[in-house]
């Protein structure tokens, strides 16, 4: 196994985007100038809703889409004007894009064949990758005779057999069922640890992002909302967009106003002490809310609407000051006859966002 590992261990390259822009014309700007740096060997997940430009970004790095402006540096080399094959990138596509008329072996060996690698070496390298991906028994089959998970592994094998410096994944797991997706996630994680190629993984699935990424780059309308570790993104979202995009159920966002000493909800209930004035958006994760049945301290009163029992915990939906707030709590069944809830929002767990820009503002709670 060790011999195989070293055989297909890639020389990872760092990637730098300098003012990279994609625009079809003056009106349709898909990606406004973007600067970002991905470290060598890092697994970056690009996360965003559909149409946020994440696939376009990936295709520009791959060389399948032209860059309107800016520079792409891979391993210190300027590549934005090079053909795809000269960038040292390999890609795994969403619908696998395997060649249906070629066997699994031919599919994986094709890039080596094009590159003029000798037949014996081609066979050896494909065999090594096939062993690693448990595909050795399927080399003579055509893609049509494989299951979805096997096809996905062939697509991955085809990408890594060339020992690329950069591995690009374009929503590769979205065609698989839930169980298979989970298995492939684990496999991909292991694979990345063994190969070590700089990887960029595009997805709209936050679970994939949280589990796979060293760092997550969250895109919204072509702009970077936040680029940080999964942990930091979860605990310190940089904007309302990120806060609502990550977490299931997502973070609750409530409009509040500060009068210099306390923050009040829209219905006047005091939610926290803070030396702030003006309008803000207050965020709190469903699992950070403490549910009580008696009013104490700054607990706010909410009316329970419905309850979803998930076994390990329950998700409650309640009306609070004109908006719906979701609470994840281990106590579900006990509250069944309790239409009135008292919610304690711990000051340390509150997130404050600017009412207009939606960006996180510094926290200034008196109670800390």
């Amino acid at each position: 196994m060790n011999a195989i590992d070293t055989a297909i261990r890639a020389a990872a390259a760092d990637i730098k985007l300098i003012g990279v822009t994609k625009a079809y014309d003056a009106q349709t700007v898909v990606i406004p100038p973007m600067d970002v740096e991905l470290r060598a060997g890092e697994f970056t997940v690009v996360l965003g809703p559909s149409g946020c430009g994440k696939s376009t970004l990936l295709q520009m790095i791959a060389g399948l889409e032209r860059v309107s402006d800016g520079k792409i540096m891979v391993g210190g080399r300027e590549v934005q004007d090079l053909e795809p094959k000269r960038r040292g990138c390999a890609m795994v596509f969403q619908n696998y894009a395997l060649y249906p008329h070629m066997t699994v072996f031919e599919n994986m060996a094709y890039s080596l064949k094009v590159a003029g690698v000798r037949k014996a070496e081609r066979a050896a390298r494909v065999a090594a990758v096939a062993r690693m991906l448990a595909l050795s028994d399927y080399l003579t089959r055509k893609p049509g005779q494989l299951s979805g998970g096997q096809r996905q592994r062939v697509a991955i094998g085809r990408a890594i057999v060339r020992e690329p410096n950069v591995l690009l994944f374009d929503e590769p797991l979205s065609n698989l069922d839930a169980q298979l997706r989970h298995d492939m996630r684990v496999e991909l994680s292991e694979l990345h640890r063994r190969i070590g190629a700089t990887s960029i993984f595009v997805t709209h699935d936050q679970v994939e992002a949280m589990t796979l990424a060293d760092r997550i780059l969250i895109l919204n309308k072509g702009r970077i909302e936040q680029f940080d570790t999964p942990k930091a993104i979860y605990h310190h979202p940089a904007s309302v967009f990120v806060a609502k995009f990550i977490g299931a159920p997502p973070m609750n966002i409530l409009p509040v106003t500060g009068d210099g000493s306390v923050l009040r909800l829209a219905d006047g209930q005091i939610v926290a002490e803070a030396r702030l004035t003006g309008s803000y958006q207050l965020g709190i994760r469903p699992e950070d809310i403490i549910v009580g049945i008696k009013a104490d301290g700054h607990a706010v009163r909410a009316v329970l609407r419905f309850r979803e029992d998930l076994g390990s915990h329950s998700v409650l939906a309640a009306d609070l000051a004109g908006s719906v707030i979701r609470i994840a709590t281990p106590f579900g069944a006990d509250l069944i006859n309790q239409p009135e809830l008292f919610l304690n929002l711990p000051a340390a767990r509150l997130h404050l966002f600017d009412a207009e820009t939606g960006r996180a503002t510094c926290r200034a709670f008196a109670a800390q």
Binding site: L64, E83, K85, M91, A97, Y99, P100, Y110, S111
Partner: protein, 296 residues
């Protein structure tokens, strides 16, 4: 049976819908063909009235005729060259149009127009285009006198026929092949590009293998059609000349039957031609059809 009833509530409706087409095919294809087969065993009088069963005498007579073999050989040459070109030229055009090169959109439109032109009209137009005095090759003749003379030179006449046939075959084959190319997913091209294959390499490694079903279809149709559809072109461009150089079997059948009044001989040759086309098509399916990969 259940699948029929799910599509049509009335079981006679499908029959009714198919009937006109079946009637036409029977009346203008099956009846004449079987009549030709039947007549090929009889000696018919040129002006009707009384016929005599002669067994295989007609076949013996036709097969002993060197003119039949010459016409048959020309038919095969025409079939192979004209139908190969009639697939190859649209294929090149389709690959180019698929690539979205400049002007490919209007070209796509214009290339389909010949579909609306009847074979005889194509013949008349090409007779004019390749006319040695006023046609497009006329300037060549003023430099090298006599280099282009389809009226005298059999090869030149043959080339004219092939050119006309290929042009007439462009629309259908172009549409079928272009549709095949366009149904190849974009990611397939992207994957090949990522694998390092340039545009030329992708044509042979990805595009052609993936449109094999379409290529096979056009080839089979072309091979069978080229045997008979050449008639209109020959009749309008060369009349089988010069010196019989463009008399293909289908034209010889017409001449023998309707000018020479050798109805039995013409029927016999029709029967032979028919059997030849059947064998040819079957052979294509047996030797090529099995290798076509229909998987996408």
């Amino acid at each position: 049976m259940s699948s029929d009833s799910t599509l049509f509530s009335n079981r006679w409706l499908p029959v009714l819908l198919v009937a006109p087409m079946m009637l036409l095919i029977a009346l203008f294809f099956y009846v004449p063909i079987f009549q030709a087969f039947y007549w090929s065993f009889f000696l018919e009088r040129p002006f009707g009235g009384g016929s005599e069963f002669v067994g295989l005498d007609n076949f013996a007579r036709v097969l002993a005729d060197p003119e039949f073999w010459k016409a048959g050989w020309r038919t095969i040459i025409f079939m192979v060259t004209a139908s190969s070109l009639a697939v190859l030229v649209p294929l090149i055009l389709a690959v180019a149009a698929d690539r979205k090169i400049r002007l490919s959109l209007p070209a796509r439109n214009v290339l389909v127009w010949p579909k609306g032109v009847a074979g005889a009209s194509i013949g008349v137009v090409f007779a004019f285009i390749f006319n040695p005095f006023v046609g497009i090759l006329a300037p060549l003749n003023s430099i090298f006198p006599g280099i282009w003379a389809p009226g005298i030179n059999g090869t030149d006449a043959f080339i004219t026929l092939i050119a006309a046939h290929v042009w007439g075959g462009i629309p259908f084959n172009f549409v079928i092949l272009l549709a095949g190319l366009q149904s190849i997913p974009r990611t397939m091209h992207q994957a090949a590009a990522m694998d390092g294959a340039g545009p030329w390499r992708r044509i042979f490694d990805v595009q052609l293998p993936l449109i094999m079903p379409q290529l096979f279809l056009t080839l089979v149709l072309e091979f069978t059609e080229s045997v008979t559809s050449a008639f209109a072109l020959i009749d309008t461009i060369t009349n089988g000349g010069p010196g019989g150089a463009t008399t293909l079997l289908v034209y010889k059948i017409y001449m023998d039957g309707f000018s020479g009044y050798d109805l039995s001989g013409a029927s016999t040759q029709t029967a032979i031609l028919m059997v030849f086309v059947i064998i040819l098509t079957a052979a294509q399916f047996i030797f090529l059809g099995r290798r076509v990969n229909y998987e996408r």
